[in-house]
Symmetry: none
Subunit: 132 residues, 4 copies
């Protein structure tokens, strides 16, 4: 099972609405089950540096099938996965990346959001992932 | 002047319609005046390898403010720009990348399309670039 | 549909037999439908430089769902896809990469072989791809 | 002395058995004495992001001829090898990488395992390294 472009565009649309609702400007990236980009949108005025971060968050969430923030808890100094960020051409392990599941609960892709606080990034990612 | 996300999404929508009309499956990338990705869409079943190519075509078109195919004519063996593809982390210099201009004729971004023959790629890119 | 590890190991086993039968030493790489490595084997004494080439051939074959040699014909100076090799962190476009299909004809991955002449590389890749 | 492909395949086979015995899905990479990949297998459903990590663990273990976890203890903030992970195109320094020795005690390669907790990763790597 793999996410479709129509699903990815729906998710980006919902994520944009959420982003506007909380007064933020986001980069929003969607990857498929193979961790390859399916759709992307950068809202006007969003941070340029968040472009790459949003894509890396989406990839990271699919690479390990979990929210990126969970990995970040384990990759701290002294943690079990310290410096895991050096793998896969760079991971982003703070919140804002969330797996996307279909109705059957299978992971079909992931969303990565970047452009505000990590709390806001995560909230927008959750809103997007819940849209299908 | 810079392309907006709304404009980029409009361009992708028109490019998708053109792609369907000529029975192809495309990766479509839009970059802004700073050559940074604004929006992207990969149609279901489009070649995976065209993902990176579409983004590189869009960047290449904006890097030099001309259609990618023109650069490709100059980058041949013996040509004035031989192997220019080695710069900028990789250029793509065959057709499918086209600058996007506003009503005043100013370049505000570029579109890159990949997924079929270079003739089809260019036709879809032109259709998209003409949408605004 | 995606290739399984058991299928990939079967393919490598058959490719090794073919390689021995024609007195060559090969690097053999198998990627899945997402172009990610599933299995790999380097025969004793095979060229070290062919390690990366075999992986890139497998990825290239899946990126464009065709034999790598076909792309190489189009990427020559003056060809439609000249210097496409600069995309996707490096393609290999001479023979030795072949898509892998299931019984229903769906592409589920690809094999890349490197270590001898391109004719031998392709023959071993074909033998492997035909094993399932 | 260098590991053979037959030895590497034997090690992967034993590592897979161990992985199944403890109910995990692993990426398993074997490098030779030159730190170059010899064999690799990704079990069905194993994390995609662990592909690169398993290879980096195997390379790291051979680069320094010790278990990766030992390096990780020295690479912490304030430690003697702080941020050594930036070298060699990225090291992974948490457990799961183990040198492979022949009967004479000479190091002939290394195994890297990734896909579960670092304790499980290390247990599977140890089982593999002990297979010859």
């Amino acid at each position: 099972m793999n996410i479709t472009l129509a699903q990815a565009e729906k998710i980006i649309s919902v994520a944009k609405e959420k982003s506007i609702a909380i007064d933020t400007k986001m980069n929003i990236a969607i990857v498929d089950a193979g961790a390859n980009l399916v759709a992307f949108g950068r809202m006007d005025g969003a941070w340029l540096g968040s472009l790459d971060i949003s894509i890396k968050k989406a990839k990271t969430a699919r690479y390990f099938d979990m929210n990126t923030g969970i990995i970040g808890e384990l990759s701290q100094p002294g943690g079990a996965l310290y410096n895991i960020e050096h793998s896969n051409n760079g991971l982003i392990t703070f919140p804002g990346g969330v797996p996307i599941k279909n109705a059957a609960g299978e992971i079909i892709g992931a969303i990565g959001v970047s452009g505000s606080s990590v709390e806001n990034d995560h909230a927008v990612a959750e809103a997007g992932a819940s849209a299908i």
